[in-house]
Each structure stands twice: as structure tokens, then as C-alpha cells.
Symmetry: C2
Subunit: 364 residues, 2 copies
């Protein structure tokens, strides 16, 4: 007779790992099923910006994502400390702030609109003239026209967070199964009873958390129980300054991309936004545009070594807001659709889902 878990988490990206860790901490028995290795897909490619203010978008769902983002950003410091303590791995949280810059008159006009929008939401930002922006980041090109400072938008190194979460899960007794792609959710007509693996094996579980990101639609769910998640392709470069750190101090965002310093001379330059299905290939056009824009803005990147080109698939819902909480089937819990905000929203998502899972257990 196969062991039955309280919870099966489908997906071993940052969301699945954080959920599994929190659920296990809450006393549940947990298994996590990952189609590749944990953290090897989108999470590993992410730049790791914790930027609810810089990222805020107009409209109702933008407001909802902002609310989640601000709540999760507020959790990050203690989440990181607790995770480092649990795992023994530093996660590279850098409290450096973010600068959003405009390079020409058109971008400056748009940035004024963005500043006014953030003012209307009472978000803590500052409007900086080029001289002040270049005092903060001397590497910025003199052609700079205007900047917005978001002093509380920080960054973390997702690869370190993934290693720490993986370690914390293992130390706490989460049963992590890699290279175990899930074919579908088992349902007895009343509630979910576990998942079926592609190799034919079944995993029994009282509740199933779907954290499969851009692969969500590959899971065979009964009609009506599914939600539409599409992959949004992002190409991203990892750069390294052979001269060491110092070219940039904080995160710099511009129309079409961003540069995130890791503090050790490494930088992440991202990212395209492309609707191309599950295409994982970097392209000449995508890399060209990222390098062109970054080079125009920070000419000094010319000397940086390219350590890696990679592609991530953001899991995106029709309104680009995440789906967190109970699904249409009893025992099914969603934790996907985090779009550009998976790293930022991981602590809050894990907390909300763990609450849902333990609440449900108490009732059953």
C-alpha cells in the first residue's frame, strides 16, 4: 500500500518549494513532484527583483498585484532570515533600491505619468533629475532625461533562494521527487485523491497544490477545473564584470529591460516579453535589443563578460494576476500564474497556501 501524503505539491520552482516548506512547517506530510530538477526552469532564470512599486501597472488587476506585492515585499526580510537560518545558505537579499530611468523626451513624458500614478497610490518614490540620478549611479549615460527612485524595491538572488528552499525542504522532511512529471490529478468524483505521474505511478494525497507555472496547462484537469495559464517568454543575460563590483549599485530599470547587480560584479540583464508558447531558445533579435538598450543607458557594460544566455517562461493568466487559493475541485489548491512576480510573491503565496491547506485539514 502506497504511502498517502497530506499534500502533494506539483511543481518545484520557487512557489512550489516555498509552499512545500511552509506546509511541512505547519505539520503536514508533504511530497513535491517536479518534472525536471527543482528550480531548473523559470525560477532559476528570474532576475530576482522585489519591485512592487517599480512594476505597478494601471488597472484593476494591477492594483490587486500591487497589494499582493507590497504585502509580500514586507515579508521578504524575515522570510530570507528564516530561510537562511533553516538552510544555512545565504540568499543574497540586497537592499539597494531601484531606479527607473527615461532616456529621451518620449520616455520622460511617460515616466512623469508613472510618477504621478505612483503618487496617486501614495507609494514611496522620488522624482530625480538626471544629475541626482547620476550621482546615485555614475555609470548612467549623460543622455539620461529623468529618473524615478523606488527606495524600497530591492532584489534577491533566485538561485540562492532555490538552493536554500530545496535544502530547507529536505531538512524538514518534504519528500522531493525530481524528474517526476505529473500527467494529471486524480479525482474520485468528490475530491482529489492525489496525482498520476507520466510513468504510470500514482501518488496519494489529501490535497494537491498546483504550482506548475508555465506547464500548468500540460496537467490533465477535468474541464471546468482548469485555469488558462500561458507562457510569456523572457530572454535574459547574465554578465560579469572582470573588474569586480561597482559599475552599478542598485537595480536600474528602463523601457524594455533592467539591470540587476548581484553585488559581486555580476549583473542580470533582462528581459524580453514574448508570446511564443513554450519556446526556450534565445534569439538574435532578443539578445540584440537587450544589449542595445542596456549599452545605450550604461555604456560601461561593453566590457562585461557574458556568462549565460537563458530563457524563462513566465506563467501568465489572462489578467496577469496570480491564482492563489482553492480550485474548483475539493482538495485542489492553486498557486500559479505569478507572471513577472514569482520571486517577489513567493513568501506571501506560501503563507496563504499553507493557511488554506491547514484550514482545510482542520475541517476534513
Amino acid at each position: 500500500m502506497a504511502k498517502r501524503f497530506d499534500v502533494a505539491v506539483v511543481g518545484g520552482g520557487i512557489i512550489g518549494l516555498a509552499v512545500a516548506w511552509r506546509a511541512r512547517q505547519a505539520g503536514l506530510s508533504v511530497t513535491l513532484l517536479e518534472r525536471q530538477g527543482t528550480g531548473e526552469a523559470t525560477s532559476r532564470v528570474a532576475a530576482g527583483m522585489l519591485a512592487p512599486v517599480a512594476e505597478v501597472e494601471f488597472g484593476e488587476s494591477g492594483r490587486r498585484v500591487l497589494d499582493l506585492g507590497l504585502r509580500s515585499a514586507a515579508l521578504w526580510r524575515s522570510f530570507a532570515a528564516e530561510l537562511e537560518e533553516a538552510s544555512g545558505i545565504e540568499v543574497g537579499l540586497r537592499r539597494s533600491g531601484t531606479l527607473v530611468v527615461a532616456r529621451d523626451a518620449d520616455e520622460a513624458r511617460e515616466l512623469e505619468r508613472q510618477i504621478a500614478f505612483r503618487d496617486s497610490l501614495d507609494l514611496s518614490t522620488e522624482r530625480l533629475l538626471p544629475s541626482a540620478a547620476r550621482e546615485l549611479e555614475p555609470a548612467l549615460a549623460p543622455t539620461l532625461r529623468l529618473a524615478l527612485q523606488a527606495p524600497d524595491d530591492h532584489s534577491v538572488d533566485p538561485r540562492l533562494v532555490l538552493a536554500a528552499l530545496r535544502r530547507a525542504c529536505e531538512l524538514h522532511g518534504v519528500v522531493v521527487r525530481e524528474h517526476a512529471p505529473v500527467a494529471g490529478v486524480e479525482y474520485d468524483g468528490e475530491r482529489v485523491t492525489g496525482v498520476r505521474l507520466e510513468d504510470g505511478d500514482s501518488v496519494l494525497a489529501g490535497q494537491v497544490v498546483l504550482a506548475a507555472g508555465a506547464w500548468t496547462s500540460d496537467l490533465g484537469l477535468p474541464p471546468g477545473a482548469s485555469i488558462p495559464v500561458r507562457p510569456v517568454k523572457g530572454q535574459i543575460l547574465r554578465l560579469r564584470d572582470p573588474a569586480g563590483p561597482g559599475l552599478l549599485n542598485g537595480v536600474v530599470r528602463f523601457h524594455g529591460g533592467y539591470l540587476v547587480p548581484r553585488g559581486d560584479g555580476r549583473y542580470v540583464l533582462g528581459a524580453t516579453m514574448e508570446e511564443r508558447g513554450q519556446d526556450l531558445h534565445p534569439t538574435a533579435g532578443g539578445v540584440y535589443e537587450l544589449l542595445r538598450d542596456a549599452h545605450e543607458l550604461v555604456p560601461g557594460i561593453e566590457e562585461l563578460q557574458i556568462e549565460e544566455l537563458s530563457v524563462g517562461l513566465r506563467p501568465s493568466t489572462p489578467d496577469n494576476a496570480p491564482v492563489i487559493g482553492p480550485g474548483a475541485l475539493d482538495g485542489l489548491v492553486w498557486a500559479t500564474g505569478h507572471h513577472r512576480n514569482g520571486i517577489l510573491l513567493a513568501p506571501l503565496t506560501a503563507e496563504l497556501v499553507a493557511r488554506e491547506l491547514t484550514g482545510a485539514v482542520a475541517v476534513s
Copy 2:
């Protein structure tokens, strides 16, 4: 007592492998010593243009390289056929011709000068107006100003050539030793007696061929017996058209780079020329400039996938002409300094060196 070879070839790039194959065919016992795996350094990165006419440079050493290049280009067809026969591996020789293009008035003026120069040397080229050039290569941007066609400048796939040479060497009994870096040449005061490996081992040989390319100066040679070879860094991209072949038919060269179609939808985009020692890192600036220039000239490359970024170190002498033939010590033979022309010059170099080696044996 260690086995003594007639010849020890130092370096397992295309030159070393071709020399070893030809020397073995001539009846000599041959060992080849390579610091990494055969063909893993510069040769593997090369684009594989066989372009003596497009590459010809002004000046005396340019004339000498042209002469060698034309002679070797004339050998390539039979060299490829014989190598394919010997190895069972097709080497991807494409008789597609080369187009050298000018994108603006300055480049067009320079190209007129280049056309006149080739006319003065009686080289077979044709001056093409933009309309004629775009008939040959419809993917070229309409901004094109002028083109030079070199109908006999072709290309080959160096990675296939390397695999074929490696196989032919093994089938013919060349003793190939990989990961066997050579520390120096053994010299008894009268003639060379072999080489000394970094691990302390010695290899006895009647003659030593130095084909170590950009690593030539790492070999401990007696003062006066050495020649100055410096590495010239080239960054290069390998692209792939998911739509298959057809974007470009032949080689296209432009100021600062070239695009070489492989005929199966893959393209090589190269290459920077940088004096940076043995630095093997691709950089943001190098890749940016290659993509920018290629994109301006062939906008359709935007959609191509980037399969690889790599760096090769061209072995270059002060006048950029190769050094082929006997060295200052008896029994020492040079086959290095091929700069941008290693693939083109491999058949001729191998023939010349094999002649030198067998001639010397006959005398000793």
C-alpha cells in the same frame, strides 16, 4: 624503453591533425599531443571560410598570404574528397561564393578601392550594384550600397573537418594523445629529440612539428629558436533559423564581420578582432556589435536562435603571415601563425610540412 616516433606533432587543431594525417600517409610513425581535446580550441570556433580573394590584404605579407591562400583553396576540393573517403565523414564543403557588401557611402568608397586592388591582382571578382546583389541574396537590407562578388571563395564546416581528420588519423595509426600538454621541446645540443610533457613524461621523436597555434608561446623553447605568436581574440555566434535554410545562400562579408550559411538553416556570425591575450570570454560589447552590424545588413537574422557564443584565439605573427617550415633547431618544424586563415591553409600546410618531414628523413 619508450617508443620513439618519427614525428611528434604538438597541437591537435586543424593544422596539427592535417599534418599528422599527411605525415602518416607518407609512411612516418606519428604521435600527436594536444593540451585539451583535439579541435576543441580555435579550430572548432572558426567559421570555415575559404576566402583568399575576399580576405586579401594590402602589402607584401598580404601578397604572400594571398599566394598561399590561392594554392590551398585550389587543394580544398580534392583534400575534402580524400578526407571524406578516408574517414567516412562528410565535411560540409559548400561552393557558394562570397559577397562583400558596403552599407553606406564610406564603405562603398572603400569597397571600390578593394575592387580596384583585386583587379590589379587579376583576381576573379565582380562588382555588383545593389539590385544585382539583392537578386543573389534577397535577405540583404535595401540600404545596401555596393557589393563585390568573389565567386570562388567558398566555405567548409570546421567541426566536420576536425571530426574527419581525427577519424582519419586514428584509422591510419597516428597515436593521438589528448589532455597531454607539452611543457617544452627536448634538445640534445645538436637536434631535437622529442618533447617533455607537463606531467613529466617524455616523448621521443626524430622530428617535432609545432602546431600549437595561440599557445605556441607557452612552449619552452631555447632563446632564438622561438617565434612570436600572439593570440587575437575572436568572438563568434552560431545561429539557427527555425524556419530552415534559405535566408542566405552564400557567405556575406561586411565591415567588421561575416555571416556564413551552413546550408541547413545554421549560420555562423563572426567575428571580433581583439588583442586581449588568452581571454576566452564573450563580452557584451563584442556580441552587441556583431548582432548590430548583422542585423542592419540582414534584418531577418532577428528571428534566428542563438545556439552558441564562443571565442577563438587566432595565432598571429607580427606580420600576420603563417610560419611553415624548418625552425632554428634541427628537427624542429613550424606550422603555426595562421591568423585568420587556419582552415583555408590546412591542406597546403599539411602538404608542405609532410614534404619537409619526409625530405629530412631521407637525408638523416
